[in-house]
């Protein structure tokens, strides 16, 4: 048999039909659904008299525009249009008999945190969702990617997607990470090296010692931002850490089925002589704590650097950098560590898990946020929130002057009331720094939870290593 990559193996195990031109029907094991990109898909099913083919493989949770303040179970405490979308998801989940975690359920949270937490996401699966950060689930050795609403409808109706295979790209992070460097710094640094279109047309497999050393949560952070590098999906070969994480989760297999699953999962790795269409290697020790300075996730530099001059770029990026620097209210040559911030946001599907909160709390313990600064922590799920309260992390955040919120996507995309005002500058642990992403005119600097915590204390972008 010819050698295969991990992606090849999962792909081959899910082709339900292949046409002569290579167009495939790829079978989907898990379909995650949220309130913003699904109403039109369910409406389409109703209009055509179609039904959900596999409701028990379909999991829905409202996350994008739910408020993160108390009392949100009452629709009166939501804006009218948000309440309509959440009510539509309630109804669609009930009418079509799909698994559902309503706002009132402690297991509610960001769809990409709930899926792994509940054991819906398992190695070797195909996982899709009408959300580009579905890439997160690749951390389990699952083929996971975002789809549009027409495709959501297609998966609901047929449990398949019409796909052509992507190319294989290997991103190897060798050696060890230095203190203060996290999974977020890895994933941002990779995007900095490849650009936001560097992964277009590829599925990226992340590998190497620094990736193997990461926890499952760190691996989720890395894969989460594969989409920011343009890739269809990011994936990491499952290992003992993966199996340990999955074991005992509510929807993970049990008993003999667990053993059978494990036997297959252990075959899920890229053969040593597999062919790659593109290979990138980065030394773990060369990665520093980074922040973004511009309005594209590729605008990333070590915290010790300066805002670059637009002329230092090539082609269309010269104009884009000029526009970014103006939008961000910065000056070329300005030290990144001199940039003062107004707000800190800790949360999102990138960095809203318990380890992220632990890392931020470790920096904040016994300290206060800078006076006048707005700071909030939005746990990724109700269960993450409960655990953080049990571990005393919530109290550390509250004592430091942070708002302690309920779970949701929140200020990552600002569809709920958590938004930046024009010109407001935010240190954020989320994944996109696009113009207006966190609110019209808002200015976003992406970074790790540790770095965001450090920025909260000093009121400016800060090298967390100085606080360790």
């Amino acid at each position: 048999m010819s050698p295969k990559t991990l992606y090849d193996k999962i792909w081959d195990a899910h082709v339900a039909h292949e046409a002569d031109d290579g167009t495939c029907l790829l079978y989907i094991d898990r379909h995650l659904v949220h309130e913003v990109t699904s109403p039109q898909a369910f409406e389409g099913l109703r209009m055509t008299g179609r039904t959900v083919r596999q409701p028990l493989q379909t999991i829905a949770v409202p996350d994008h525009n739910v408020p993160t303040t108390e009392g949100r179970e009452d629709p009166k405490n939501m804006t009218e249009d948000s309440a309509i979308q959440v009510a539509a998801l309630d109804k669609n989940a009930k009418d079509f008999g799909i698994n559902y975690y309503p706002v009132s359920d402690v297991r509610q949270g960001i769809v990409h945190i709930v899926g792994p937490e509940q054991g819906w996401t398992l190695p070797g699966m195909t996982v899709v969702c009408g959300d580009s950060h579905t890439a997160t689930h690749g951390a389990f050795g699952a083929l996971a990617h975002g789809i549009g609403t027409s495709e959501v409808e297609h998966v609901l109706a047929t449990q398949t997607l019409i796909q052509k295979k992507s190319k294989n790209m290997k991103v190897e992070i060798t050696g060890k990470l230095n203190p203060g460097v996290t999974a977020k710094d890895i994933t941002l640094s990779v995007i900095g090296a490849t650009g936001t279109a560097g992964g277009t047309g590829y599925v990226i497999e992340y590998c190497g010692e620094a990736i193997r050393e990461l926890s499952m949560e760190g691996r989720m952070t890395v894969c989460n931002m594969a989409i920011e590098g343009g890739a269809r999906a990011g994936i990491i070969a499952p290992d003992e850490k993966t199996f340990d994480y999955c074991k005992g989760r509510p929807h993970a297999p049990k008993g003999a089925q667990w053993e059978a699953a494990l036997d297959w999962w252990k075959t899920l790795y890229s053969d040593h002589d597999a062919a790659w269409d593109k290979v990138i290697t980065i030394k773990g020790e060369d990665i520093a704590p980074v922040v973004t300075w511009g309005t594209s996730p590729e605008d990333v530099l070590p915290i010790t650097a300066e805002v670059p001059a637009p002329e230092s770029f090539k082609g269309g990026k010269v104009g884009a950098a000029k526009r970014s620097i103006e939008y961000m209210g910065l000056t070329a040559g300005q030290k990144l560590s001199d940039i003062e911030i107004d707000t800190v946001f800790i949360g999102s599907c990138t960095n809203g898990r318990i380890e992220d909160l632990r890392a931020a709390a470790a920096i904040l313990k016994g300290k206060k946020k800078k006076d006048g600064l707005r700071a909030m922590v939005v746990p990724g799920s109700g269960l993450v929130r409960a655990q953080a309260e049990e571990e005393g992390l919530a109290q550390i955040f509250i004592d430091a002057g942070f708002e302690w919120r309920l779970a949701g996507c929140s200020m990552c995309l600002a569809m709920n009331p958590d938004q930046l005002s024009p010109g407001e500058r935010c240190a954020a642990t989320s994944n996109r720094n696009f113009e207006g992403r966190q609110g019209r005119g808002g200015r976003t600097h992406l970074m790790s939870p540790q770095m965001a915590a450090a920025a909260a204390i000093t009121g400016k972008l800060t090298d967390v290593r100085e606080m360790m």
Binding site: H64, I84, G146, T196, A320
Partner: protein, 201 residues
């Protein structure tokens, strides 16, 4: 789905790289449960000021481009969020074709589901089309999907690549789901085999 065959139209130039789907349709307009009516908010934050007034400099506010049916843009068009509201807004505005050196994967796929033709061409050719588009309403680009060509107002012709299956669906306005349901027997067979091999799924 609307068919796409030939298009002769005004092309609006947007010489900006990495135009993301947050720019194309900001999040506050994603709260709809419909597909229609988003055209007025296409590029909302670039197109209107804080008071909701049109920004005259923005390309689609200029008289000569208000009826544009084609957009010419920089590389990595449509990056970011998977929101299909982006192609819905583009289509609702009246644009049926986007030309750029490269597109983000999900956006590219979403276009075909909505009767929009995304065309990727080498940067040098996009540069020529951008210059042509800058001439305004007198310069109409011609797009022929069957022949896979784009022609400038000066008669220069560029060939483009498109996946044969996607082309077939777009030219005939085919519904993907109906096509897939014709292969339901293959899905049944796959499911019955998979339930043996991977019963935990």
């Amino acid at each position: 789905m609307d068919k796409f065959d030939k298009l002769s139209g005004i092309a609006a130039p947007m010489p900006l790289v990495n135009i993301d789907t947050d720019m194309i349709i900001p999040k506050q307009f994603l709260k709809t449960i419909k597909r229609s009516g988003l055209g007025v908010n296409l590029f909302d934050e670039m197109r209107y000021d804080d008071n909701g007034e049109e920004i005259p400099d923005f390309v689609l506010n200029k008289p000569q481009y208000r009826d544009a049916q084609i957009l010419v843009a920089g590389e990595n068009f449509g990056c970011g969020s998977s929101r299909e509201h982006a192609p819905w807004a583009i289509k609702d505005f009246g644009i049926r074709c986007v030309i750029a050196p490269s597109f983000a994967d999900i956006f590219y796929s979403n276009c075909f589901k909505n009767g929009i033709l995304p065309i990727h061409l080498p940067q040098e050719q996009v540069d020529i089309l951008m210059k042509d588009a800058e001439k305004g309403a007198n310069a109409r680009l011609e797009v022929d999907l069957d022949a896979q060509t784009v022609s400038t107002s000066d008669g220069e012709v560029f060939n483009f690549e498109v996946d044969s299956f996607k082309k077939h669906c777009l030219m005939n306005g085919l519904d993907d789901i109906a096509l897939t349901l014709e292969k339901a027997a293959s899905i049944d067979t796959f499911e019955s085999k998979a339930s043996q091999a991977r019963p935990w799924v």
